[in-house]
């Protein structure tokens, strides 16, 4: 049985416009997340991962961030057409977000318990009393492995890993349908990262939440995701199940480069395969395939025409290499 569709992003564009320039951060991406599914969004700095997440929550900066076209359907409603009241209910309620840096995403002058209670109060559709909310705060803290006796402490009294647990507790307090985790463990040490990832995996199963996992770490993708979208210069250049991305024969040259560039723990490699060159400037993207200036397999057509999407089952590839082979 296929799970119900929860989120559908259709041909989404995000751009940042200032007096000086236009930054094309996201350039026509489409994907869906089904209930209880985890989609990984992987790519390097500037690939448009965070802009995508912010667009879903309509949190793009007011004056500069724009969504010139596209649709974001969540449980059948278009987020881009929601008014303020609907957005307020959505954010932190049905869709919650964990940010990269737990040090700066908590308020330093409010005890952590109160910060969790705040989310519950704002989304108090069940009409919980003050006592019930306090009970829920205790439960949530225990759920993420923090003794509830610490709820009156301030963020600076917690370590980085504990702070990220508090952030997760806030995000999960209102039982969201979708959790957006933007590099949730990048600021943490590896043993603490393992604890936090195990926690997210465990809670995902317990609470039946779908997750959009944003990361640059292919190891984290392999361990937590069902589906993967590889982003480059604001486009999804490869999409598929984890098996498609990690085990299939056909890959986008950028995905191949990304895998070659990480040092392997269990293999001996003399030299890392590097991707020559740099990410393209998002104010001045190259024509045709956006990866062509760095691509080893660049053909004349790559410089002129945007590649079509080649599909094999669920596996999508946006590259001219595969365009003609079977169509």
């Amino acid at each position: 049985m296929v799970a119900k569709e929860l989120l559908r992003v259709e041909d989404l564009y995000v751009m940042y416009k200032t007096d000086m320039e236009e930054v094309h951060a996201v350039n026509g991406i489409s994907f869906t997340i089904r209930e209880q599914e985890t989609l990984g969004l992987v790519g390097e700095t500037g690939a448009g991962k965070t802009s995508t997440a912010l667009a879903i929550l309509r949190l793009l900066p007011d004056r500069t961030g724009r969504i010139p076209s596209g649709n974001i359907w969540f449980q059948g409603k278009n987020i881009l057409e929601m008014d303020h009241e609907e957005l307020r209910r959505l954010r932190g309620g049905d869709i919650a977000m964990i940010f990269q840096d737990p040090m700066t995403s908590l308020n330093p002058v409010i005890p952590v318990g109160q910060q969790i209670a705040e989310a519950l109060l704002l989304h108090n559709e069940e009409g919980l009393t003050r006592e019930q909310i306090e009970d829920r705060v205790d439960e949530t803290l225990e759920l993420v492995g923090i003794p509830s006796s610490r709820k009156n402490e301030y963020p600076h009294q917690f370590s980085g890993g504990m702070k990220q647990r508090v952030v997760i507790a806030i995000a999960l307090s209102c039982n969201p349908r979708l959790l957006i985790a933007d590099e949730p463990t990048t600021a943490l040490d590896v043993t603490i990262q393992a604890q936090v990832l195990a926690l997210i995996n465990e809670l995902k199963e317990k609470l039946k939440t779908a997750v959009l996992m944003i990361t640059h770490d292919l190891g984290i993708i392999a361990e937590t995701c069902d589906k993967v979208a590889v982003m480059y210069a604001g486009e999804i250049i490869e999409y598929g199940t984890v098996e498609d991305i990690f085990e299939a024969d056909k890959h986008h040259p950028y995905t191949v480069g990304l895998f070659g560039a990480i040092p392997k723990i269990h293999e001996e490699t003399d030299r890392l395969e590097q991707i020559e060159g740099l990410m393209p400037d998002p104010t001045d993207l190259p024509p045709g395939c956006k990866f062509h200036p760095r691509c080893k397999h660049c053909m004349p057509v790559c410089r002129e025409k945007e590649p079509p999407v080649f599909q094999e089952g669920d596996h999508l590839l946006k590259c001219h290499l595969f365009g003609n082979s079977s169509g």
């Binding site: 604890q195 040092p263 030299r271």
Partner: protein, 317 residues
């Protein structure tokens, strides 16, 4: 094997804090051999950066000795210290804050040449700067650019060129690729390895990233709360980690391999305890899955369990 280029003996660095003595580096003994790379791994707060700074005499040790080419450099001062500085350099983690935003690329790279008088004369300095830029792969046209105009990878190349300017023998690389994207990280790692091969450089490579350290190091020191708990060659350490902390570290790395039906990894519980006034005994004991009664109370010495594989754990005593 040849004589070590650098050797530390009972090296300690304690910092005074209002709550007591912070044992940042506590009795570290290790050697780095010429032309090789010693990787230092550990989590934040384990003292790995402090160790790097101690070796370079950027901070003074509380006690212990540091030998460089057979001479104890702890007592060095004046001209001797200044000469020593030419032989040891450092590449910093953050290519954003370690470069002066008001200096051009050529000013940054030529500054050490001028200060140390390695090269004199305007023309010679300009030529040497150009040569260094070419060595690290910076395009000539960037000579008058400011660091803020460049991306992280190019900035880190400036950091490498600046360190190479005085023709050092030994370079401490303090998390040089942590702030970079993987595709750029690979470029810088390859550059550092090429330079080592061409110039016979010796590195101490500090990082928290185990896959990076395995790739670049010949030997590895694992640190936990100021102490080295295990030392071995890179291949030996990854094949046969002895210390429970090393085993936990290796098990914590998410592998880029599909693993559906997810084998539950044994995640170690708890977090680093305080490095302030630690009690005698193994500092990893509070988190250790194999903790025994004799882990606490007495300090655990580093013993040679098998040739060139050292570990500090009661299990192997």
């Amino acid at each position: 094997m040849s004589e070590p280029l650098i050797k530390t003996v009972h090296l300690k660095k304690y910092f005074e804090t209002s709550r007591g003595l912070l044992h940042a580096v506590d009795d570290v003994n290790m050697s780095i051999f010429p032309g090789r790379t010693l990787g230092v791994v550990g989590e934040s707060g384990c003292g790995k950066s402090t160790l790097g700074r101690l070796l370079l005499r950027l901070i003074e040790p509380t006690s212990g000795q540091i030998f460089f080419e057979g001479e104890d450099i702890v007592q060095y001062g004046g001209i001797k210290l200044r000469d020593l500085r030419k032989k040891m350099q450092i590449i910093f983690q953050d290519p954003y804050s370690s470069l002066d935003p008001r200096m051009t690329v050529s000013e940054i790279i030529s500054e050490p040449l001028i200060v140390t008088k390695t090269v004199t004369g305007k023309k010679a300095i300009a030529e040497e700067t150009a040569r260094l830029m070419e060595v690290v792969g910076l395009a000539e046209r960037l000579v008058n650019a400011y660091s803020h105009e460049l991306d992280g990878g190019r900035r880190q190349r400036i950091g490498v060129a600046r360190a190479l300017a005085v023709k050092p023998k030994f370079i401490v690389c303090d998390e040089p690729v942590s702030a970079l994207d993987v595709s750029i990280q690979a470029q810088i790692l390859n550059l550092l390895m090429d330079l080592q091969r061409d110039m016979g450089l010796t590195y101490m490579f500090i990082t928290h990233d185990l896959s990076v350290v395995k790739h670049i190091s010949h030997d590895i020191v694992v640190m936990y709360l100021g102490q080295n708990v295990e030392i071995a060659s890179s291949s030996e350490l990854f094949r046969k980690p002895l210390h429970p902390y090393t085993q936990a570290l290796l098990a914590s790395i998410p592998l880029p391999k599909v693993n559906r039906g997810k084998i539950k990894r044994d995640v170690i519980r708890g977090e680093l305890s305080s490095p302030i006034d630690p009690k005698p005994g193994c500092r990893f004991a509070p988190r250790c899955p194999e903790k025994r009664d004799d882990c606490v109370g007495q300090d655990i010495p580093l013993i040679e369990y098998s040739p060139n594989h050292f570990v500090s754990c009661v299990k192997y005593m």
